[in-house]
Amino acid sequence: MSGSFSASNIFLQSNSNGRRRCAACKYLRRRCSQDCILAPYFHHSQPERFVCVHRIFGASNVARMLEHVPTHNRAQAADTIATEAYMRMEDPVYGCTTIIARLQHEIHKAQNELAMLKAHITIHKACQQQQLQNISGQPSNQLMFPAEEAHWGMDDNGLLLPDFSPNLF
């Protein structure tokens, strides 16, 4: 009995060609097959990485997500999933959205400051233009603004992201 138990133990530690189980299969106490989809991305040397991912997403969900991603993108996908899982473990309420909200706040601040700086620059340019016109002796009834000044300060909206505002501020 003990011999068969030892044999099954050894069987579970590695597969038939001696390859060690991946962190996922070791945690889940199952045989790590040759085509285990999680093995390339959850090495046995980093068990905590899979523990995070499993607690937040679940092993079967992660395997399914990786299956739906092209093979050449799976490593990146596994990394980002692990990152999100780790952030959610650190902050169960907001996860990685804390960083997103703070970045959006900083971007809004920077955009507003930029708009005001450009307004001030426009005023200075207008004054300068007026001064030059006065010096040259040519009367002018209105300030002239370069056409390109008409569209500064607009949000490029190139990044269509819904703002996340979890009442952090």
Binding site: F57, T80, I100, N134, F164
Partner: protein, 176 residues
């Protein structure tokens, strides 16, 4: 004290399962942890969260969070799930990367704008006679997108110049 009557109508909504229990095809208990946050009128929220995180993981997570923070937690989970579905490779990490890049570009633009403004401020100013035309505040900034009267940081002076008085326009946050 009146005994319960089978003819008495049930309280409104008590028999309506939440989106989670409806999706999972189970009876929605009175103490269902999902019910306050996954209403039946927005089933797509739970579908996304279940697809990425799994109902049992979400339930465990919510149970570990104080009730006053659970709504925020659900909002962030829904947001993360939506972005993972949209971008299966990068998910929310892709959003963070893109926002970082956008912020860096803006900070560069700010540096250049401050330098340009500093050049003007260091220049020698000359007295300018008051122009005899009305100043159109909304047209002053070209597109009219930023009305000068709404921009607390800039005030137009009678001599045609402008004065930066600080303050600022608060950004408009679209609620997710």
């Amino acid at each position: 004290m009146t005994s319960p009557s089978p003819l008495r109508p049930a309280p409104f909504g008590s028999n309506s399962p939440c989106a989670a229990c409806k999706f999972l095809r189970r009876k929605c208990q009175p103490d269902c942890i999902f019910a306050p946050y996954f209403k039946s009128d927005h089933p797509e929220k739970f579908v996304g969260v279940h697809r990425i995180f799994g109902a049992s993981n979400v339930g465990k997570l919510l149970n570990e969070i104080k009730p006053e923070f659970r709504e925020d937690a659900v909002r962030s989970l829904v947001y993360e799930a939506e972005w993972r579905i949209r971008d299966p490779v990068y998910g929310c990490v892709g959003v963070i990367t893109a926002l970082h890049q956008k912020l860096r570009r803006l900070q560069l633009d700010l540096t250049l704008a401050r330098a340009e403004l500093s050049c003007y401020q260091n220049a020698v100013t000359v007295e300018v006679p008051q122009p005899n035309f009305p100043v159109n505040h909304s047209g002053f900034f070209g597109s009219g997108a930023y009305d000068a009267t709404e921009m607390a940081g800039v005030r137009l002076l009678d001599n045609g110049g402008g004065e930066f008085i600080g303050g600022g326009v608060t950004g408009h946050h679209r609620n997710f």
